[in-house]
Symmetry: D3
Subunit: 164 residues, 6 copies
């Protein structure tokens, strides 16, 4: 299963059993990942988010906090993820009224032995779910989509940027 | 903001502060929700999932278990969700080779005071993230999309089915 | 220690071992508790919280969300607390510039077999700690005090109000 | 907001959004913090704690264990705290019958990139809440107060001692 | 697999996928389970536990608290367990010097839709692991054994007692 | 513990209070531990696990995943364990039909300041409990036994192997 020629799953051992990849001997380097997700909604729902003064603050702040906390829970949620000591998490929610959606962008950083793209993806996903939760009483047709990694830095694979 | 005429956010009080909706006096009824999500991948990645005998079992089983466990963590992940005692959670992963994707469908049930669509959405989202985690070493271009509620039963709003 | 005449600790059995009180046969009734806490700070620190527009929103919203989430974690934090399904949690932060402090008031509700004052106290305490965390870089002399129950409703003991 | 002249909140970005402070490039140094809290009670309540032989052991031991475990949960409770690998946690409960109260002192240590005063404060607060929980059936008027940092060592700011 | 004649796994659906058993329509009844576990150790290790005055209290109290808290985490640890609201948890540790071991007995109670034997087993197991942790510096040869259910009450299957 | 002559508990301070051992100044070295546990069952129960094709996969995969996730929760379950960043966790389940049991072996690795045997023991114990949970509807007489450490590497004590 470790043959260079054929790609294989790093999370399965030679008998096909799920296990956590061994990173014991990997170097500690600075790592960083950015991810995004979108939540599509009715124009009226987005208006409601945008119209409130204080209110807007709390709706977006709640989703932002939920995303940050979720990044820290990634290894508890995703069975084969390593526990990590994130050194920076940020989540931004950018309303895009022209597209009837909110764009969510997350950033995670670490000085550690493994990459942080799962943490960034988890932050963006949970921020989107939290926005869904707060808006679901007024909009039953929301859809979360486009959840993906945008950029990775650090580690053996160096700098990687999703082609747009 | 509590005017019946205009839709409003149930998770904000009259000053716009985030708070958990009061369901103390709601009746305990049987409730159910189904949700789905998709993860798009390279054809070679899906082949790899499908080709393994044992291996396939563990990849899909790991995602299924992660989704089930995530449903139970919903109120810990989403700040304004009520803690619930789910009576049934199931997560199915259906490979769709013709579309280069895996479809994930989740089902949550409860005899309780509030709906379970957030639990179903969380289960589907985390199953998708887990699949992403196990395939990311061979495919850097996966995208999770189409995360939405398919059906709701029980509670005041009765039976609701997303129009397809 | 089980003598009716002398008060005793309900969380210790007859050998003095800590254990969770048996509430299996208690009736399910509507219960409610309000608690409060204060965080004392330099006038400049409170000015900083009050001066920002967006900023103020996020500082207070973060503490509010943390308090709400902590209420749901009470039985995980306090060893002999029963797991509960809270039906309502709210946390309010009221700046009191005249006293150089922020007052925090929490409310928890439940239809269940045991009281929710520990949940209300935990919500107020963690909201205060979160405010401390966000202000500690500009003020090293903050003190959290006055954490107490204000009011209880429901259950065998009925309505109880802290004498002011 | 990053102007050296005016103090500012390190947990807010330039738009005022809450985010976790970036400590990726901070040096790993030995850090230490001590905090305290007090719980005021009726003299009879404190007598009850002090009179039991085994019993006393379990009441104070339960609060001590709860405080230690809470220190490890700090980054899960306080949204903008970094996950840390504490290398030492201790919680002491000192009955002060002359003042009708119990003093709680906590100590946290770490070889890491950020300070541990929030962990020490959380340990002291949760130990106090646990004591409250075990005594609340015999005393409805307890108050937790004086929760503050006593001393900090390590990191850029060096040794800091709360003036008494 | 759903044939009444042949026994089958209730946690696998008709395709063999793991899922949580549906208990939505089961009646709420009072349920109870007792379980036990043993930890075998060197006579000197047990002497050390028994000799200390204060010390003994804290060693056994720590294990007891850990067992109680673990019972509440069962549905988080065991993927297909339902979240439950335990109404009573007790853990007893009984040193048996004549057998060079400590016997651990746990009791869990609930008014709910499903049995609590997994909660009782988890409490006993984690209490044993905690004792192991505290003694491992002086004894490298401890073994945990005999972890089993002793008795079950309530639910469809009524009263069941392990034959001794 | 500082007297070489008499062994003592490292988790108790000089007053006999439970506290987390101070590892702040211990060197970061590569550490590793292997542990095992057995679950005894009726021959028919083991047949049922072994007979299913897909089914077998999911039963054993569920227990394996639960064990891996539990290793990561060790410091949350066992009060005086340090939080650790495991770099490798693997859990193997080996059916032994000749002995009517399943053997569970776990492996944990870390580059850190303290050993990982508690993590390995917790992984094996929770994998066994999960297997118990999935088989309990068809077998009420299962027993978990023989939970012990098999091997330790790294740290001050070097390589240690349980004599078989």
């Amino acid at each position: 299963m470790s043959d260079q020629q054929t790609p294989s799953f790093t999370h399965l051992d030679s008998q096909g059993n799920a296990s956590m990849v061994d990173v014991t001997e990997k170097a500690v380097t600075q790592r960083e990942a950015r991810a995004e997700a979108y939540i599509q909604m009715q124009p009226e729902t987005l208006d409601l988010i945008l119209s409130g003064g204080h209110k807007k603050g709390d709706v977006l702040a709640t989703a932002r906090i939920a995303g940050i906390q979720a990044a820290k829970k990634t290894s508890d949620l995703i069975p084969l993820c390593h526990p990590l000591m994130l050194t920076k998490v940020a989540v931004e929610l950018i309303p895009e009224p022209e597209n009837n959606r909110v764009r969510i962008e997350s950033l995670c950083k670490l000085a550690g032995q493994t990459g942080v793209e799962m943490e960034a993806l988890t932050a963006a996903s949970v921020a989107a779910l939290t926005l869904y939760d707060m808006c679901k009483a007024v909009d039953k047709h929301m859809v979360i989509s486009g959840t993906k990694v945008l950029e990775k830095k650090g580690g053996k694979s160096g700098h990687w940027l999703m082609d747009s």
